[in-house]
Structures are given as C-alpha cells and as structure tokens.
C-alpha cells in the first residue's frame, strides 16, 4: 500500500520524476502550439493577436522543461518525503464518489459519503458510523446554505423527503 520514494540528493542519479515532469511540461507546450496554430491568420494589423501570448507561454514552458530535465540529470532536483498512497486513494475515491453521485442522490448523501471516506483516509475505520454521521452533517449544511442562504445545491431523495 505504501511505497517510499528514494531521496535523490545523495545518489546523484538521474531523477526519474524530474524527467517525467520535464516531459509533461513539454507536452503542455506542444498542446498549446497545436491548439493555437488553428487561430493563425487572426493576428491583426499590429501582428499582435490572441496567439501571441500563448506562443510566448509555450516557449517559456519548453525552456522550463529543459531546465527541469537538466536538474533531473544532475540529480539536484527537490528532496521528497515518503508518501503513503492508501489514505490518498480513500480521499480521492471520496471526491470521485461525490462527483458521480451528486446529481442522482443529492447533496447530503453524496457529500456524506465523501465525508466518511475522507475520515477513513485519516484513520476512522467505522464506515457504518461515519456514513450516517456524514449524511446528517451534510444535510444540516444543505439546510443552512440551500434554505437560508439560497445557494442552489442539488436536492436528492433525502432533501425532497424532508422539504
């Protein structure tokens, strides 16, 4: 479940993560070039148009990508602490669940599930207790924000049952 990244400072080997970041930066630059190239011909009289700044940004991203790659090869990229991915997965799962369930089950139930899964990520394992607690807490929040402050929060079966 958990895996430690080896600190890169002492080893002086090429830092894989830095190289990946460099590639991602270069890819983003490529996407900008590709997307903005569709807009050519729109630059006006002054040769300054909607494409000028994105091109400049993309060029800078390429420079930054090269710079990151150089630091990665020299092995003096950032130090890192070991990360545990289990808890991260629980929290991300909770956010994904809320996102997918929000419009069918409504704010309270979807957010209650997010609440419980986040608490699980931080070590509260009793989901049969935390899910109902989360739903009640979210429902109270829903009542305050949707009814008193008039914010439009999606209602589901639970909200329709009680209001």
């Amino acid at each position: 479940m958990s895996r430690g990244d080896s600190p890169s400072v002492e080893t002086r080997r090429p830092d894989r993560a830095a190289l990946i970041i460099a590639v991602v930066l270069a890819l983003i630059a490529g996407v900008i070039f590709w997307d903005v190239s569709r807009l050519t011909g729109l630059a006006g009289y002054s040769q300054v148009g909607p494409t000028t700044v994105p091109y400049a940004i993309a060029c800078c991203l390429i420079v930054l990508a090269i710079w990151t790659a150089v630091e990665g090869f020299r092995g003096d990229f950032a130090e890192r602490e070991p990360q545990q991915f289990g808890p991260v997965a629980w929290v991300v799962g909770g956010l994904a669940a809320q996102m997918l369930l929000l419009n069918t089950l409504g704010f309270s139930i979807a957010t209650g599930i997010l609440f419980a899964m986040t608490a699980r990520g931080f070590g509260k394992r009793q989901l049969w207790l935390t899910i109902p607690f989360g739903i009640v807490a979210s429902f109270v929040v829903w009542t305050i924000f949707a009814k008193v402050l008039q914010l439009s929060l999606p209602a589901g079966p639970l909200e329709r049952l009680l209001f």
Partner: protein, 505 residues
Amino acid sequence: MGTLDFLLQGLLVAAQPMNLLYALIGVTLGTAVGVLPGIGPALTVALLLPVTYQLDPGGSLIMFAGIYYGGMYGGSTTSILLNTPGESSSIVTALEGNKMARAGRGGPALATAAIGSFVAGLIATLGLAFVAPYIVKLALVFGPREYFALMVLAFVTVSSAFGDSTLRGLTSLFVGLTLASIGIDQLTGQARLSFGVPDLLDGIEVTTLAVAMFAIGETLYIAAQGDKGPDKVEAVRGSVWMNASDWARSWKAWLRGTFIGFPIGAMPAGGAEIGTFLSYATEKRLSKHPEEFGNGAIEGVAGPEAANNASAAGTLVPLLTLGLPTSATAAIMLAGFQQYGLQPGPLLFATNPQLVWGLIASLLIANFMLLVLNLPLVGLWVKLLTIPKPWLYAGILLFATLGTIGANPSVFELGMLLAFGLLGYVMRVFGYPIAPVVVGLILGPLAEQQLRRALSISQGDVTVLFTSPIAAVLLVIAALAFIVPLILRARGRGEVLAQLAASED
C-alpha cells in the same frame, strides 16, 4: 473632498446595522476557520467566498474584509498553541509564541499577538486610507505598458524571488499562466485551449483552483504523511492578561513591526512575509533580553505578528488602487470583486467611492470587533484546535466542495476540483509553491490585455515597452529580482531566501 471626509462617509456606510452584522459574521467565521490547523488566510477567504454569493456587493465585500482580517487573527492563535504554522507568515510567531505557550505563558503570547494585530491593523488601515488616494493619482498616468511592467514585477516577486528554487517558482507561475489562457480571448472572442468543451469557454474559476490547490491538495498531502499521532495543543494556563513588563516590552515591538510590515505589503510586489522576518531580526537586535530569543521572548511574538497584519493591510494598497493582487489571498479577494463585475483600480475610487471607502472603514470596525472576539473568547477558539484530524479534514472537504457546488453544480466543475486537487498534491510533494499558480491565473489575462494594448498602440514594436521611464525602471527592478536570487542560490546563499518562501499567502 479630503481623505478624512471620504473615510467619515465610509464609516457611515460601514456603521449601518446590516453592514455591522455582515462584518461581525465575517470576523467570526474568519477567526473560526482561520484557527483550524492547516488553513491559512488564503484558504479561509476561498472557502468562505460562497457564503457571500447572495449578498449585495457592498455587504458581501464588507463581510469579506472581516473574513480576511479574522483569518489573520485566527492563524496566529494556531501557530502559538500548535507548533504547525499553516502559512509561512506565521513561522516566526510559532518560533517564539509556541515556546512561550510551553512555558505556561500562552495567555500573554496570545494577548500580545491579538493586541499587536489590532494596533498594526489600525495604523496600517489608516495608512491605506491616506496612501491610496496618492497612488490612485499616480496610477491615472499609467498606460498599458506601465501596467504590464508592474505585473511582470509582481510575477517575478511572487514566483522566483523568494522560495528555495527559481525553477520551481517559475514553473508554478507558468502553470498558472497556461490555465489563464484557457477560454475565450477577451479582445477577439476566439476560444483558446478549450478543445470544444463548452464548460471551458468561460475559463477556469479562480475560486475552484484556489480551493482545489489549497484545501484538497493540502488534505491529500497530510493524508499521505500517514498517522503521526495527534499534534500537541498547548493548553492556555494562567491569566490571558499581560503584566506590566509584558506591556513595556511589547508596545515598541508592535509599532516597529507595523512600520516594517506596512511598506513591504504596500509595495506592488509579492513576498509580504519578509516583513515578519525583518521584524524578528530587528527585535532580536534591539532587545534587552537577547538571551530569551529562541526560548519564548515576547518581543519575538509582538513584532512579527504586528508586521504580519500590517503587511496584510498593506497588500490592499496595490489591490485596491492598481487592481494588482500580490498574494494568493489578494488574488482570491480580486476574484470576489470580479464576481460583481467590479474591477479594483483607480477607476473604482472614482465610480464607486462609497463601496471602496465603506470597505476601508469596515476594516477598521472589523479590527475592533476582532480584538473583542479574540481576547475574552480565546478559550472557545482553542477548543477548535482539538478537533481530531479525521473530522477536521472531512469537514474541510465538505465545505470545499460545497463552495464549488454552490457556484456551479456540475460534474465537470467537481472533476476540475479533483484534478487541480491532485495537481496541488503533486506540486506539494515536489516542493512547488502554490501561490504563483493562483496569482498567475488571475493576473495572466490582465497582463495579456495590457501587453496587447501596448503593442497594438505601437503597431507591434516591442521596444515601446522599454521606452517609458516608469516602465523601464519597473522592468529593471523585475530583472534584478529575478537575477540576484539566482546568483545568491548558485553561491549557496539560498537558505535565507528559502525561509522567506511565500508558500501560502
């Protein structure tokens, strides 16, 4: 009319019962959220922005100002009682304040922080009121190229001048600028980088990005550190009140901190944390009890905390007069203005003086309220610190997603929230600063607009950017702010800069 007349008019606006109520709600919420560990002022402001959605612009900005100041007060309580400074501006407070709390002097530490914040907030807000009209006059002669130069300076100081790596600061900034290019181009109506997705045409919401990066990124990062046991909260033992010697040692430190912090915050450049470090160094040098520094010297809490609040008020000078956010918190405040179609800047002082001066006056009122809220009620805020981590972070995510859902209840928006949250997490793991992304996102389109205007006027001649004396000077300063830290770091003097990192606000 002079500044005083405007300020008095502003006080009349701010003293209306409804506005007083908004200010009170603002400072209470701001303190409550700001006290929570791991939540700095930037996130406090971003999380509470949705509360203000349904109010009129005046009331909402007044509540917002209260939230801003409340978040600042709350943050100092956390760093004194729980040695985990959520934001870099509180590191120094934690240094001495936490030592005092361990020695059973938590009460006086909290008191000197609160009263110091009050004194600094009062002087700095008055400073804001008196300085602003002059800068507004100055700003009226600014053309597009001067504005562009100013923004370049802000970009450099926010991203690369401080922190431990020029490379990572700049990378963060350009990630923000890339995100800023998404959506419809303001000058020609062309859709850029939106790949035919209608949800992207309006661009990326600053609040979505800020909440995702600060709240979700931080939650994921803390979760990934695993269970290291509960943080130790220092109980407030003994009296909250300061004795005569505490007062004698504090008052000069408050004033010095204020006069160090305000100008630094008011400069149209990022890095407002420098003030706290400068103030700490000054107090250490001037103190009659230098041996106490490192073991809980009250001057070491009083000075930096005053400097911190004074520079927070100072940040409002470039924000209100030039529309230039120089911290993540200010960037989110600018987003708060923009939701009402208001663009801070010299024009706002002319077109909407009631709003601007009402806002400044309500900062003064919020400051008084905070003093009352913080000193006697400190026990209540301390209780908030003892919330166990699972409930705390579950609650943070509840409110973080609530804001996004309230603004735009779509699966796509929540998907962006999750994606940026993951981005924020990865950036934290590799030590990339977060603030430049947020500042880049909100300042990017403004800088682009000014640049293109300047270049259209000159018919594409780039040299025009350097031929105005003001713009040339600003660009030279920006270049120095970029090059000097590079040299310092190359010579191994980077630790000083790393300490000044603007990680949160």
